[in-house]
Amino acid sequence: MKNKLFEKYFVFSPYFWLILFFFIPLAIIFKISISVSEWGMPPYQDIFLFDNGFKINTTFENYVYIFSDYYYIGSFVNSLILALISTFFCLLIGFPLAFYIATSNIRLRNILLVLVVIPFWSSFLLRVYAWKIILQNNGILNIILLNLGITSEPLQLLYNQYAVIMGIVYTYLPLMILPLYGYLNKFDLNLIEASKDLGLNRIKTFFKVILPLSVPGIVAGSLLVFIPVVGEFIIPEMLGGSDRLYYGKILWEEFFVNRNWPGASALAFSGIIILVLPIVIFQILYSRWSQKNEI
């Protein structure tokens, strides 16, 4: 009996975790997002009032406010585009790397895997800051370019969206490589040889055999990069300029500069719904598809 109880708790532990750290915070954010804002501490009114009898004090004005201003929607769209581009480049660089690691001999493989993981051992902030030093006007890259005579004056490499994409691709690459590696590791290399033997050259073999069989790894890696990049705050803040505003930055400003908690919460809640809902639907459809295709 005791064992059974333990088993039950053990099985449900992920749900406890989800409830405690996802659904309850989400509910709190939702509660704040439908509150009326005011000057004070906290900067919103309670949603249940008991002064003159019971009264529910909620508003959807915060949602109307953020959805009627392109400033907010635009920043969210910018973040989605940024996440798409970054995921694409992570995949472009990560796939060949993961494939190479997965197909190399065991000694080299372990060394390469350690190299992939090593950046995690240093501070994330420090790593992004290092890029700032490399890319700044009198930074290493500009010094090299100047000395080689490729440019006559320092290039403005920092504080634009390209620096942001580069920083994100650099930071999130391991998150793409590791799930891809985990999947490609099990790849039967005879399938590639069989495809070539049946007359398909390297490019066709890639598109007809390697790519379709790597879909689960690609999906896992891409989601792992895409989702956090949408809300990424630090990298655009440190490497980005004023040319583009991103969702994470707006969210931070709304909370801490404007002290508009209900507005910020509405923004956060909308962001989660817009992001999570399609992904959940995609996951359901995808798992059905992969079950049908037995990949």
């Binding site: 040889e193 070539k196 050259n201 379709p212 295709n293």
Partner: protein, 355 residues
């Protein structure tokens, strides 16, 4: 018949310091069913992979039907390779696995017809919509075979074609494979470590050891007249006896008996092979031992194999294996353990090994 359909010329291959193939030369005829037999590490699979184009030889050439294919990529070679694991595409159903190699150059209709034909040939029409995981080992083997044959290759390479099948299915598939090969007249070259499989499938076979070809001949020739000690031991059961010249005849110290050979020997000392089924076993009451090509010994072990009984007979310092056919069901032919028997053989049955 074209004896130079497939010419393997001076092929050598090393992986690092490890010499896998040393100066391999082979000529294989058109429509021949050719076996490469060797234990693991003999280099047989490497040779097959060189033919398939998956490995490049360090030296030498491969010529197929008059064309040098040594430097061609696998996808440019007019041959196909059947993998030991079958390497069927798990993301495609049987139809699309079969059609994989012809999708490029054929119209939809042609693909449909060609796939149906090949499926019919291999009796797998009912499986066309199945997923690979839903197939049994035997069915997978047919799909793998069909996927290769659909390309009408000049040469089909098979890596351990029957190794993944269970024993009963294996003998059935063996027969089907030879029938199919004779019908299609495609040259088959296959690799196996199983000597029975090699003997039953091959028109000719090559025995490989440590990257060398020791012998290359028909299965009968290799079984009956092996040249080397290694081959004699590798194929079938072998009694190897060392003999040396003594007066008129030859003498074995291990058996303590005289041998009479019907041919002269170059060396004064040599190894001979005596296959266990060539030895006649008789009750000691019937006969006296003659002065040569016979001995009396004691039955040490006995195993009843159905059509045969295998005896291990001890004489002096040696144990000799004898296979005795069970002519009738009476137990007269079965000697009990510990019984003294007389063994004898014809002079022609003694095969002299060269090394």
């Amino acid at each position: 018949m074209d004896n130079n359909f497939l010419v393997i010329e001076n092929i050598s291959k090393s992986f690092g310091d490890n010499k896998v193939l040393e100066n391999i030369n082979l000529n294989i005829s058109k429509s021949e069913f050719f076996g490469l037999l060797g234990s693991s590490g003999s280099g047989k699979t490497t040779l097959l992979r060189i033919l398939g184009g998956f490995e490049k030889p360090d030296t030498g050439r491969v010529i197929l039907d008059g064309t040098d294919i040594t430097n061609l990529e696998p996808f440019d070679r007019p041959l196909n390779y059947m993998f030991q694991s079958y390497a069927l595409f798990p993301h495609l159903n049987v139809f699309n696995n079969l059609a994989f190699g012809i999708k490029e150059n054929f119209t939809r209709k042609e693909i449909e017809i060609t796939v149906r034909n090949i499926a019919e040939l291999l009796s797998i029409e009912h499986l066309l919509n199945r997923r690979i995981k839903q197939l049994s080992g035997g069915e997978q083997q047919r799909v793998a075979l069909g996927r290769c044959l659909i390309k009408k290759p000049k040469l089909l390479l098979l890596d351990e074609p029957l190794a993944a099948l269970d024993k009963k299915l294996r003998s059935k598939t063996q027969l089907e494979l030879t029938t199919l090969q004779k019908k299609l007249k495609i040259t088959f070259v296959f690799v196996t470590h199983d000597q029975e499989e090699a003997m039953s499938l091959s028109d000719r076979m090559a025995i490989m050891k440590n990257g060398l070809i020791l012998e290359c001949s028909s299965p009968e020739e290799i079984y009956e007249n092996p040249k080397s000690l290694y081959t004699a031991n590798f194929i079938g059961i072998a009694n190897i006896i060392e003999i040396y010249k003594k007066d008129e005849n030859f003498y074995s110290d291990d058996l303590g008996i005289n041998f009479k050979l019907n041919k002269e020997l170059k060396n004064t000392k040599t190894n001979i092979l005596l296959r266990p089924e060539k030895i006649k076993i008789q009750s000691i009451n019937n006969l006296k031992t003659s002065s040569f090509n016979s001995f009396s010994g004691e039955i040490l072990e006995k195993s009843y194999l159905g059509s045969f009984t295998r005896y291990e007979i001890k004489i002096k310092n040696m144990i000799i294996s004898v296979l005795d056919q069970n002519f009738n069901s009476s137990s007269n032919y079965n000697f009990p353990k510990g019984e003294k028997v007389i063994c004898s053989w014809e002079s022609e049955s003694i095969k002299v090994l060269e090394d």
